[in-house]
Symmetry: C2
Subunit: 556 residues, 2 copies
Amino acid sequence: MSKKYAIGVDFGTESGRALLVDVATGEEVATSVHPYSNGVIDEKLPDSGVRLEPDWALQDPNDYIAVFKTAVPEVLRSGGVSPADVIGVGIDFTACTMLPVKADGTPLCNLPQFHSHPHAWVKLWKHHAAQPEANKINTTARKLDQKWLDRYGGKISSEWFFSKTLQILDEAPDIYQAADRLLEATDWVIWQLTGVETRNSCTAGYKALWSKREGFPEDAYFKALDPRLEHVIDQKMTRQITPIGQRAGGLTRQATEWTGLKAGTAVAIANVDAHVAVPAATVTEVGRMVMIMGTSICHMVLGAEEHLVPGICGYVEDGIIPGLFGYEAGQSCVGDHFAWFVENCVPAAYEREAEKRGISIHQMLEEKAARLKPGESGLLALDWWNGNRSVLVDVDLTGLLLGATLATKPEEIYRALIEATAYGTRVIVEAFENNGVPVKELVACGGLPEKNKLLMQIYADVTGRELKVTASKQTPALGSAMFGAVAAGKAAGGYASIFEAARYMSHLKDEVYKPVAEHTKVYDRLFAEYIQLHDYFGRGANDVMKRLKKIKAETI
Amino acid sequence: MSKKYAIGVDFGTESGRALLVDVATGEEVATSVHPYSNGVIDEKLPDSGVRLEPDWALQDPNDYIAVFKTAVPEVLRSGGVSPADVIGVGIDFTACTMLPVKADGTPLCNLPQFHSHPHAWVKLWKHHAAQPEANKINTTARKLDQKWLDRYGGKISSEWFFSKTLQILDEAPDIYQAADRLLEATDWVIWQLTGVETRNSCTAGYKALWSKREGFPEDAYFKALDPRLEHVIDQKMTRQITPIGQRAGGLTRQATEWTGLKAGTAVAIANVDAHVAVPAATVTEVGRMVMIMGTSICHMVLGAEEHLVPGICGYVEDGIIPGLFGYEAGQSCVGDHFAWFVENCVPAAYEREAEKRGISIHQMLEEKAARLKPGESGLLALDWWNGNRSVLVDVDLTGLLLGATLATKPEEIYRALIEATAYGTRVIVEAFENNGVPVKELVACGGLPEKNKLLMQIYADVTGRELKVTASKQTPALGSAMFGAVAAGKAAGGYASIFEAARYMSHLKDEVYKPVAEHTKVYDRLFAEYIQLHDYFGRGANDVMKRLKKIKAETI
């Protein structure tokens, strides 16, 4: 029997990536990236040139289809694989990335009468213009004592589904009116591939306030937000939510024309980039936390039971792995910290030294910082250069560096920033553990683990936990391919469940970062200092950071 | 009648400077700098090569005499002035810079049997090896409830006279025994010029615990420190202290050989560099604070009455201007901050830009920072990179920067550091005002005012006070010349008092930095935030800075 393959397609912010994977081993046979022609639309609309307001971020849904037309045929070609041997397709997406469509799935922006209307386009996850609507959603929820608010750490974000929906209604009631359906782009893409409209449990749970046991917030709540929104679920969405790991349908005739794949090829229910990376990081059980480490960190951990964990981003039953609660938390500034530091704070002498030695400045800083012992710099930082997501959920917090002297060197500041992000992760780990969600071990994926071994060791030392790294450098696409293999099912050469798929298709590197006892001892003391500052500045004892932001805002 | 002149000699850390001044106008006719051959001796003794321990800093008294042999003749020559027209000489010195000598004034280090003994040499102001002795002096003073401790903000320094004296006794009792006299180098130099041993009220008051009304601490206190020290005042010093502004004597025959000046030329009582700058900055009355701004700031203000001001360095009746109380406070890190920042935190791109534009990096940072409005950066710093002198008197405090975001630019940090030092000055100004010592206006001298107009404006805005700058760039030497003219007296063509001398010989620039009302309004709010952090980290609510230093110390 010939080898069987699955394809995962990962839709990022700037491009889509297709990955062709050997179902039996998880071997990554071929990959291809297709950059979106219209990229992130944040200044003016294509064609019409209509100007966007600040904080807007849109996309063109046709760019998603183009990924199937180019990147998928490309991996078949370069992998030398016959379409007959591809048994399943899965996708993952940024979220909440949503759009208004007609009943047949046509995006409103593709209709001539709406083409020059910003609200007719896809609102990208980082569209941040719906803050007033998010505020209204939060205050109304508190006023009506909505229990679901607790599932999201007590506050929902301007990035989420109903913030964006309410903004459309507020600013473009005609678009709201004209939209037969409002849905996540990830579900829309699956609809285009299969001809079947489905809604996945992951985005419904994490972004649209749905839960398996309680469904959506009641109509009365939506009515309180805006009377026109009372029946939004039944009019523009659906109450039928499909758990992650199911088959959505088979490829349509049109989709086979785009991709070159066979009609009827199994397609998995839609998924989200961060969440689909969890089984690709070998994690399908409780106790191991997956950290997707890049410019920011997304922390995900599975739990057998439902627990309220204050300050996390949310938890969803069936949200990551069917049958388990998927808990999500995050740090908003990690890799971004180091990029900021290198751009703004590294002296010319260091740049010259790195150049002379033929290494990158990041590499040289890591080398110099690695020579320092824990505690040796005398520095302590709060890693809030971009606010704090978990567990304080406060975008108005700002960065702090304490302990500088005239002898302080750049590599000491650099290391203090790394340590601060590690303390931030430890706060999250402890929040989970203190609230009934065990975290015994850490698994890292994303860009950072490849780049900075010192950072990995510091995370192990600070958290006192073993830290492992995924073998794949493209875990979201791999995870999507795994779900494709599950959608195909055992009979077709795939797997009966994501648990089984993970056993064969996902792998870790041999390298393990183990906590060094004498480092952990010092870091325990430094972490106690971090927590004291964290609570003093983050929990209201001294709101100086917010007052400075207010004064700053008044000067502009 | 021919023009009359006075010469001021300013003894710095690395060199001595002679300044020839027109007595009638204060015009600076000629100046000459003589670097000390042995400079700061902090590694090994000259000739013998005996190694010094860490924190030691010595000088060679013969280097002081060499200044009279070279720099004084040089100003006469280059100024084209006849020795007959020089009516007086004054000097000023670093302090406490002290040495052990024989009864005839011979420094012990000039005697063959002591030449290779470190304790026989001059201990420079920044000799920091007497901390254990300073601790003993402080704890003993508190135990014996010594009231004089309050005059020095509750704590005396390892740099001061009895710390150094006790170190000699502790570590080299033979040197202590062999020394007939222990005295400040500034008094020793006057002795060498005039043949008369005198002790000035400035160093006696600020460095040797003397006060006009109460004299020195009682013998019982010295006995409690060490029984051998019981009679130190009467055995090695004197209780006869001469107020600033008096004539010490006339130039000896030997001194005329060194200098080329006439025998009998009036010589003023010895003085200290910072304090002598006050009348040279036109200040001889209450209400105007003089700030000597360089790597650090020394703040001096005159008061008509005696007041305890917590956290200042000290106050001395007749210490600066006869008949008034001279109050002194300080900030330990000002110019040093900016030097640290430029060396460690300015990115290569900025260096390239400055180079391209042909300006210094300091100049470019000032230019960029000047474009920001108060409060615009959102940053706030505590200026404790080198501890805090006034008003917290705590070397173990460290620097803090708060409010950073991913958009924070180097010039914003640079400006925040300038602002932090201005807040530090405002704390001192308010400490004086709240305790009965008025400060209505500021007068700046030293290196910084010339270099950074933005800094000057920020100080005016933050303190809400007018800031003026001295016309002279060498205020200590000018002040010394002024006291030389006073020592000569009116009949000889000089002045009857320092008040009169200041009216004619000292000048301010026309330029005045006036507080801008809308800036001051914002800075008032930022200063309130500064104070809250200052007190939280500086007064014991959270001793994290000290704990970090302790952890750091344990790693070494």
